[in-house]
């Protein structure tokens, strides 16, 4: 009897684990919308009186990963202060479920996070700034009229981001 129950128990546990993983991943996946040209344009121009910070990042980028907790903290702090803070992940689409979602989960991020929906990398790069090489992390700050105020390459300090956001909100 034990011989029969034991394999069934293993099968049940394995199935349960897979189901949980799929459900969790599926639930998280719903929060990762794709950002294409039209969505980016809407995001920048339809400000509704709010400033906007966009952070472009990847899990393969060490400075991005190091900077991310500050962005999560900024999102929590500024959500009620007329600033939208969003991130756009540029990992390969194959790595979203295996790398990006677990990373966001580990960061306890409730920040709006998109995946890159542009067909070509340079289309996304040029849409944000034609003079940008594509080096990440990149942080772009827009004021409430949708005008770009800052384009920052590389890891930024939390204090620097706060002061630049305050300037954008104050304009």
């Amino acid at each position: 009897m034990i011989r029969l129950i034991f394999p069934l128990l293993i099968l049940f546990l394995l199935h349960g684990t897979e189901h949980t993983r799929a459900t969790t991943a599926g639930a998280q996946k719903k929060t990762l919308e794709t950002l294409d040209g039209a969505a980016l344009s809407r995001l920048i121009t339809h400000r509704g009186g709010k400033a906007l910070l966009i952070n472009v990042w990847a899990t393969w980028c060490d400075p991005c990963v190091e900077e991310f907790p500050d962005l999560v903290a900024l999102d929590r702090e500024y959500r009620s202060k007329n600033v939208d803070i969003v991130s756009v992940n540029i990992d390969d689409s194959d790595d979203i479920e295996s790398k990006v979602l677990p990373f966001l989960h580990s960061q306890k991020s409730s920040m709006k996070t998109y995946t890159n929906g542009f067909k070509k990398p340079e289309d996304f790069i040029n849409a944000l700034n034609p003079s940008w090489s594509g080096a990440v992390p990149a942080t772009i700050i827009f004021d409430s009229s949708g005008k770009r105020r800052e384009f920052l390459i590389g890891r930024q300090s939390l204090d620097s981001l706060k002061s630049k956001l305050a300037a954008a909100v104050g304009r």
Binding site: A58, W60, C61, D62, P63, I90, D92, D94, K120, P121, E122, I125, N126, W132, S133, G134, A135, V136, P137, I153, G154
Partner: protein, 192 residues
């Protein structure tokens, strides 16, 4: 009257260095850097090559590292055609010993120069790894940008550097002289 206003304006643009016909390639000035063995190299050492490919690369950047095998293949495929590949490491946190070990581990046979203080990266405006400059024998930039359009080799749809090299070697104008891709920032001594 308009003619007299226009001429000084053009002259001013030329004097200030801001005027360059759109199709005139940018020229890279000669520079000297040491390789990971301490041997000094000048760009002019390669004036007899059919072309020079400068590659800003890194030891720790996953995107640059995803191109290691492709860089080896490019060097192998185009060396016999007279193209010289030169790697440049301008990352402040990647010491020369690490660059040497990395080159050995990855089987790089091309020269790798250490750009201490990111002087050459600053002069060229290189900001990401990997970042490519294809130069003709006059050291004019014929192509600037990425190696291809995906860090995952199986997903590549556009072999940008190979296409530029093939067009150049065939005596044609490089059809796409500028491309972009996401990559790691070059970690500079001074933040840019």
């Amino acid at each position: 009257m308009k003619r007299f206003i226009g001429i000084p304006a053009i002259l001013a643009a030329v004097v200030l260095g801001g005027f360059r016909p759109a199709d005139t390639p940018r020229k890279v000035e000669n520079f000297k850097l040491k390789d990971y063995n301490g041997v000094e190299h000048s760009l002019t050492d390669y004036k007899d090559a059919k072309g020079v490919v400068l590659m800003f690369i890194a030891t720790r950047c996953p995107i640059s590292n995803s191109y290691n095998e492709r860089m080896v293949a490019l060097d192998k495929d185009y060396r016999s055609k007279g193209i010289v590949f030169i790697g440049i490491n301008a990352n402040k946190q990647e010491p020369v010993d690490e660059v040497k070990q990395h080159a050995k581990d990855k089987g790089f046979e091309f020269t790798i120069l250490k750009d201490e203080g990111n002087v050459i990266a600053d002069k060229l405006g290189a900001s990401v790894t990997p970042e490519i400059y294809l130069l003709n024998p006059g050291f004019e930039v014929l192509y600037h940008g990425r190696i291809d359009d995906s860090s995952k080799e199986a997903k590549v749809t556009s072999q940008d550097l190979r296409r530029a090299l093939d067009e150049f070697l065939a005596g044609k104008v490089v059809s796409t002289p500028e491309t972009k891709a996401f990559g790691c920032t070059i970690k500079r001594v001074t933040a840019s």
